[in-house]
Amino acid sequence: MIALIIRDVRLGIRSGGSGLIGVLFFLSVVAVTPFAIGPDLNLLAQIGPAILWIGALLASLLGLDRLFQIDLEDGSLDVLVLARHDQPLALTVFSKCVAHWLITGLPLVIAAPLFGILLNMPLEATAATTATLLMGTPAITFIGAMGASVTATLPRGGLLVSVIVLPFVIPVLIFGVQAALGATLAGVPFMQPFLFLCATTLFFCVLGPLSAGYALRQLEG
């Protein structure tokens, strides 16, 4: 399990790009929004958490389709599936998700406070949004694993993964943005939606690997 995480993280760093491209995409979504909304600083600060969340959400959908495809293409998926007696497939998928999040999700969380400045967000709002992203983006990866596992054999599965994954991600988005807003708006709670967000992540960190593992076992190829 640890060996798989180390291998995938090393691979992500060595073959380069995937994490950085996500951050760049995130940056372009955040940078474009003010042009569309107009130079209203108060409005930007108000909707800042939502923009950061949408940007991070779209950016984390980017590389998801490759999650299992790279292993399918070079034959290592057979090894991972065959070893399921010693390494349960759900644990294998979980490890792959952890590695994937470390490479693509964590950079987004780290970049979020900087992008908050671009949106004229107050300090508390930026901190709260970053905290919700930290807790929420893993859920996107775990949900994405479900989509990635059923589309692994499709040559152009990227868009399909996004379409499959987006409906399941809506609760994450709602609780994430609500908690982030709760940090600044009076009368809106922070803790409640934040805890719901954490619960959603915990829920999908079990359901995602289990169902993705099941799907991978059914893959013919």
Binding site: S76, D78, V79, H85
Partner: protein, 210 residues
């Protein structure tokens, strides 16, 4: 967890009345054989005859329409005891040979030979720190074969192991296979390579059914 490393003298791989179809087309039917320790089966036949499908079915990757594959005496599924080498090499081109192999050793469990020893057996110790992607086709295949030596797995299922190998490497591979059989291993291989070991059976697939 260490069942794969246990020594069972009466371990047998039993394939009974195997029938596999895909998309309504029969790939093969009525395949049956039994291998005891130290026995191998060489599967030959033209392209498209279903050799790879047979190996994948035995390894448990494909749904069986009929028949069964099990490892006696405990009726374990095959994957508990098997190494599977498909036509790809299961290595990451961006990582070094040593990184690739040590990952497989840690992941699969029941460690046997060390990474360096396994590489030495295929005559590639000098590429230990090279990127896998920088190796030639034949070298890649030999590194993939070295993976089988890293973990104790009595049953080897190998698909076209000698693709891209030169004569000398083919001999090396035949020797490794013979040693595995002499060490009470079981082998099912789809290959054209004659393996000069007593106890090797052969199964020939004829022309693909249309």
């Amino acid at each position: 967890m260490l069942i794969g490393a246990m020594k069972w003298d009466d371990m047998r791989l039993v394939v009974e009345d195997l029938y596999v179809s895909r998309g309504g087309r029969t790939i093969f039917e009525g395949v049956r054989f039994e291998l005891a320790r130290g026995q191998g089966l060489i599967v030959t036949g033209p392209n498209g005859a279903g050799k790879s499908t047979l190996l994948r079915a035995i390894a448990g990757f494909l749904p069986l329409d009929r028949g069964s594959v099990s490892v006696l005496p405990n009726a374990d599924p095959v994957w508990v005891h098997a190494h599977f080498l498909n036509t790809f090499n299961a290595m990451k081109t961006a990582l070094t040979v040593a990184e690739n192999l040590s990952f497989h050793q840690q992941f699969t469990g029941a460690a046997a030979l060390g990474v360096e020893d396994a590489l030495e057996r295929v005559g590639l110790l000098h590429v230990l720190d090279n990127r896998f992607g920088d190796l030639s086709t034949g070298q890649r295949r030999r590194v993939a074969l070295a993976r089988l030596l890293l973990n104790h797995r009595p049953i080897w299922l190998i698909d076209e192991p000698t693709t891209g190998l030169d004569k000398a490497s083919e001999a090396t591979f035949a020797r490794i296979l013979a040693e595995h059989l002499n060490g009470d291993g079981l082998v099912v291989a789809a290959t054209h390579l004659p393996i000069d070991v007593p106890g090797v059976k052969s199964l020939r697939f004829e022309e693909a059914p249309v």
